[in-house]
Amino acid sequence: MFYREAGDFKSSYQEDSQTFPIKFDRLRYYGVLIVAFGIVPLFINDYWASAVAVPFLIYAIAAIGLNILVGYAGLVSLGTGGFMAVGAYSVYKLMTAFPDISIFVHVILAGVVTAAVGVLFGLPSLRIKGFYLAVATLAAQFFLVWLFNKVPWFYNYSASGQITAPERTVFSVFVTGAQTSATAKYMFCLVILTLVALVARNLTRGTVGRKWMAIRDMDIAAEIIGVNPLTTKLSAFAVSSFFIGIAGALFFSVYLGAAEVGEAFGIQKSFLILFMVIIGGLGSIFGSFAGAAFLVLLPVFLKNVLVGALGWPTDLAAHIELMIVGGLIVVFLIAEPHGLAQLWRVAKEKLRLWPFPY
């Protein structure tokens, strides 16, 4: 009914390999873009921006980054929090050292710095796989947090040990600092997320993505076909860390405004983003969005229901909320190990035939 491939003929390879081959899908995608860019900014207020929209956008960037590493290249990483911290501290150092350069450039450069650090910590992946690699990246997590705590140069010798984002503008609109409007925060993150998603899509649909997936599925065959495992694995670490660094930079400068490394970028962040990727669906860009949305929206939704609608005390609701989120994750992984993206795919296959199953 909704998804008809019949009559939708493709006469060139370009048409055949587009992201949304079915017309209805394509229209819906344009619809989402129009709503996100044109309608949401008109109505967004501080509560929705800081509770839902901005964290969703930033976590989606981080989830896309981690998905490239875990989902596409098959390399498990628990260092996401540490890499986000690298992004945050690089953007802080850049912002304070070169105040005249656009924050947009700083955010991208923070990604580049994180990519370099990611490659460094990705070197063990050439020798070890699976759980052992996860432990090696865990070392990166702890080392980086320790480093940013212990070396005062990173936080410009501030007395509190915190980093605070100076005020910066894009087209003379504040995007960081206290005067920033909800709309500006939202739009800044949205623009970067859109660019990140496009780049991720381009990388994963072409040669680079195929190399990553080949290494993931069968590394010996990949090598015999002509994939260099060294450059392929390191490129996955570089691209993944680049996106995660951008997410960390935005998380600190746009969302938090001020951050202390252990609190903002601890091991919980690594797990949170890994959960997003697993729940959303490994090896799927859409899954990264879905996972981020699920884990950002669910606590907000539960809080509104428990405190707002049922009138429970806040502390009780907070504890129950943790248990429900945890329980749902377990249920979810048992019911659909391939994540929300797979659920979505199955739903689409069903809808293609609906209402006649044959």
């Binding site: 060139s12 390879y13 370009q14 390999s17 780049v199 381009n202 990388l203 072409g206 040669t207 680079v208 195929r210 190399k211 997936m213 080949a214 993931r216 599925d217 069968m218 010996i220 065959a221 990949a222 090598e223 015999i224 076909i225 002509g226 994939v227 260099n228 495992p229 490129s235 691209v239 090896g283």
Partner: protein, 273 residues
């Protein structure tokens, strides 16, 4: 006819060219075990060369030496007139040697099309940054040009209808065919087939034989194959190497090999007195 450097005419009248690869006194040891002992033979341009022998004779090890996956303990491999030193497997792929595996080694998480496209990797030059730009940097154009070549192979192997299916869902016979397609997509100088007919029924075997003959005919690919089905080997191949216990016991046209006493002994057994 072995000594003619200009090549020879096959029984069905095809002209076989000069030597593409020459293996000289190859010895391969794993610790105390000698898998291959002083084997020499050559592979000529455009021919179908079979390696046969009883189980454990060292055929697969030989193929791994040719493909560069094993470095011989002793002996020399000459490819296109150059002596090949120890190389990484991915460097060998760039030289133009592709292979299929005895137990299929496809990328299960990817579609048939993507699997075959990985075969084009050695021909696609755009780097990471160019890939990110896609529409502006020519990466898209490169993709479509290579897609066209891959589509020709898909047509050739008659797998159009499963193009977008994930490989994990395919039955065995089709997987074998997709693997052949992937190796073929690399446009190799030498194509190595490790038991291409293993585990197939008669019809699938007939299909596979047709594909092997056709691709040799149409693309002029040099093929080295290991196979247990003697009927298939004798029908397909132009020259056969027979191995037993790591040694070469016969080499020549199928008819010569069939009448070779050592080969008959190895296959049928011989009374020791």
């Amino acid at each position: 006819m072995k000594d003619m450097n200009e090549g020879y005419l096959t029984a069905d009248g095809r002209q076989i060219g000069g030597v593409v690869m020459e293996l000289k006194d190859i010895t391969l040891r794993f610790g105390g075990l000698t898998a291959i002992e002083k084997i020499s033979f050559d592979i000529r341009d455009g021919e179908i060369r079979a390696i046969i022998g009883p189980n454990g004779a060292g055929k697969s090890s030989m193929l791994n030496v040719i493909s560069g996956f094993y470095v011989p303990s002793d002996g020399e491999v000459w490819f296109k007139g150059v002596r090949r030193g120890p190389m990484k497997p991915y460097e060998i792929a760039r030289l133009g040697i592709a292979r299929t595996f005895q137990n299929i080694a496809l990328f299960d998480g990817m579609s048939v099309l993507d699997n075959i496209m990985t075969g084009r990797l050695t021909h696609m030059k755009k780097g990471l940054i160019a890939q990110a730009g896609w529409w502006f940097t020519g990466a898209a154009r490169e993709e479509y040009e290579n897609r066209e070549k891959v589509e020709r192979i898909i047509d050739f192997l008659e797998i159009q209808n499963i193009r977008k299916t994930p490989v994990g869902r395919l039955p065995y016979g089709l997987k074998k065919r997709v693997e052949l397609a992937r190796a073929l997509a690399a446009e190799p100088k030498i194509l190595l087939l490790d038991e291409p007919m293993a585990g197939m029924n008669v019809e699938e075997k007939e299909d596979m034989c047709r594909f092997v003959l056709d691709l040799n005919d149409e693309f002029g690919t040099t093929i080295v194959l290991i196979e247990h089905d003697m009927g298939v080997v004798m029908d397909l191949s132009d020259r056969v190497v027979v191995m037993d216990y790591g040694k070469k016991i016969g080499d020549g046209a199928p008819d010569e090999v069939r009448n070779n006493q050592a080969v008959v002994d190895a296959y049928l057994g011989v009374a020791h007195d």
